[in-house]
């Protein structure tokens, strides 16, 4: 059975499955063949699940019964921080190397209900801390577009799986840009939904006030379909927004887009990235959009706010890994040493650094200067963006300040690595939805991305602009 995976979309696959042009089995086997051929080189998947046959049967049964959704039988890859009962979920850390999930994450339950075939779990930066997937305890993942480059991160395995056609779509998680930056680095579309639209239950937490699960795919339509299939209320996530509270004023689009000019003139942004961005603006103008300059004086503080709140939340969230209840446990005479030796050996270098940074930020005497200031600035940034959306439909910038970089290029300088999230972090800080869409290739064939932020709960605006941009 020869299926053109490169051109395949969810809608096309669904039509073909419905019309019996190919079966779920054929489709899944086509992806498994690619995994067999390419994964040992790319290292997108850490594990291919051993229960795929059972999942295929369930999906095929649904086609016989006629109880299908668009997602039934669609092969998907999930990030290694999502619990899928009976399978290992390690967050690419040694401390969870042997941890088997005892329940399904909210999003996994939703996928299973729709008969989605989960092929396996993908590599990531350890506990999602990184922008290149190089902090994984299980080796680097290569960028399928240029194997000498990183795929971005932290959802590097999830994007590489789709980019090398080893899954039709995938799920990632995004705390400061971990879906959008790697999607940009691999020429894909990646969405960070509004905070609270997708369940975080069963997702291994990094920074709970910023984490959100989202879809990755080859085009806007696939990302929209996958988003619709995981979007919903989950009573097991207390920050999930009840459906009755999601009523929004569906004001018609003005087709006016804002560009925060002074934010784009900061340090550390590559010239060719800015040139590509100007081309994207021209393209949007041809599609009938008006591009106007907007002033967002506080947005430049987003990354500093992020590097206070995130490590603070990380230091509290990761306190649970103590070698007592699950995961790695290192033998010692005293209980204190069991804790410290387990955590010292189980966590990688970047995780250890952020744990100490968070501990410092939250310690007595510094809490006010850092944490409380950051909370205050976060609120002000939220307000600033909410106000600007009264005059524009969306804010556009590049997704990343640079093209995909080489392995080890930025590992020695934490601030340089942290700069990767410059344009993506504000959406997490403000809890609003944002998407990255491919915007062309460099001379060397490396991909650029256009980043679009929309008001709270207005994913529809992102999809609409995104589809116009794809034309």
């Amino acid at each position: 059975m020869n299926i053109n995976l490169k051109e395949l979309t969810i809608s096309k696959a669904h039509e073909s499955l419905k019309n019996r042009e190919f079966s779920v089995r054929d489709l899944v086997d086509a992806y498994l063949d690619v995994i067999k051929e390419k994964n040992s080189d790319i290292n997108a998947y850490l594990e291919v699940y051993n229960d795929i046959d059972d999942q295929v049967k369930i999906a095929e049964e649904m086609f016989k019964n006629g109880t299908v959704t668009l997602m039934t039988g669609i092969p998907i890859a999930i990030k290694d921080n999502m619990l899928c009962v009976g399978h290992i979920a390690s967050a690419s850390s040694k401390i969870l190397g042997g941890y088997t999930a005892t329940y399904d994450a909210g999003v996994i339950r939703q996928l299973k209900d729709q008969g989605v075939v989960i092929l396996g779990r993908t590599n990531m930066d350890e506990f999602a801390m990184g922008s290149s997937t190089e902090t994984s305890a299980y080796g680097n993942t290569k960028n399928p577009l240029d194997t000498s480059c990183v795929p971005g991160g932290s959802s590097g395995g999830s994007v590489s799986a789709v980019a090398m056609n080893a899954a039709l779509v995938s799920l990632g998680s995004d705390t400061g840009g971990s879906i959008r930056q790697p999607a940009s680095f691999t020429g894909l579309v990646g969405l960070k939904p509004t905070y609270g639209t997708v369940s975080r239950s069963g997702i291994i937490s990094m920074a709970s006030s910023l984490d959100q699960v989202g879809p990755i795919g080859k085009n806007v339509e696939d990302v929209e379909i996958l988003f619709n299939s995981i979007n919903g209320y989950d009573k097991l996530d207390s920050t999930c927004i009840p459906i009755e509270n999601r009523k929004i004023l569906n004001s018609p689009m003005t087709k006016r887009l804002g560009v925060p000019r002074e934010f784009l003139s900061g340090e550390g942004i590559d010239k060719d990235v800015l040139e590509n961005f100007e081309k994207s603006c021209e393209k949007l103008k041809k599609q009938g959009y008006e591009i106007i300059d907007v002033s967002l004086p506080l947005i430049k503080y987003s990354l500093a706010v992020y590097y206070i709140l995130m490590p603070a939340e990380v230091s509290s969230n990761l306190a649970r890994y103590d070698g007592i209840r699950y995961g790695l446990s290192v033998e010692a005479d005293k209980l204190f040493d069991v804790y410290s030796k387990t955590r010292g050996r189980g966590f990688g270098k970047e995780v250890r650094r952020r744990l100490l940074l968070g501990t410092y930020i939250l310690s007595y005497g510094y809490y006010d200067a850092y944490y409380n200031s950051a909370i205050k600035v976060r609120s002000a940034i939220k307000n600033e963006l909410a106000n600007i959306f009264l005059s524009v439909d969306a804010i556009i910038t590049p997704t990343a300040p640079c093209l995909p970089f080489k392995f080890n290029e930025k590992t020695k300088d934490p601030i340089a690595m942290y700069m990767s999230d410059l344009f993506t972090v504000p959406a997490n800080i403000a809890e609003i939805p944002a998407i990255s869409i491919p915007s062309g290739l460099s001379e060397k064939g490396l991909p650029y991305g256009l980043h679009i932020m929309a008001p709270f709960l207005r994913e529809d605006i992102l999809f609409s602009i995104g589809k116009d941009f794809e034309k």
């Binding site: 509270n245 070698g323 200031s373 600035v377 601030i415």
Partner: protein, 95 residues
Amino acid sequence: MQLEDVKKLANLARIDMDEVEMTEIAKDFDSILAYVSQVQEASKLIENVTQTEQRVLINVMREDVILNTPGEYTEKILKNAPKTEDGFLKVKQIL
């Protein structure tokens, strides 16, 4: 930041580390903290923020009743534990 400060933090965070790494962290922290200190300058620029809340934060409560049969998940959960005895987690003496 001094090595002694990092040692104290490592102790508080319960992370065993060697001195080479702690010295490196002390150096990294100087540049990271210099960068994030911008928020103090920014927070001075901001008058009292009147939050136009997009999302109403609510406490999510449920009745305090047992929803599963006792012991339903015990075996599954303990299977992940490093050391157990008679259905309990086993830890080093703490007193």
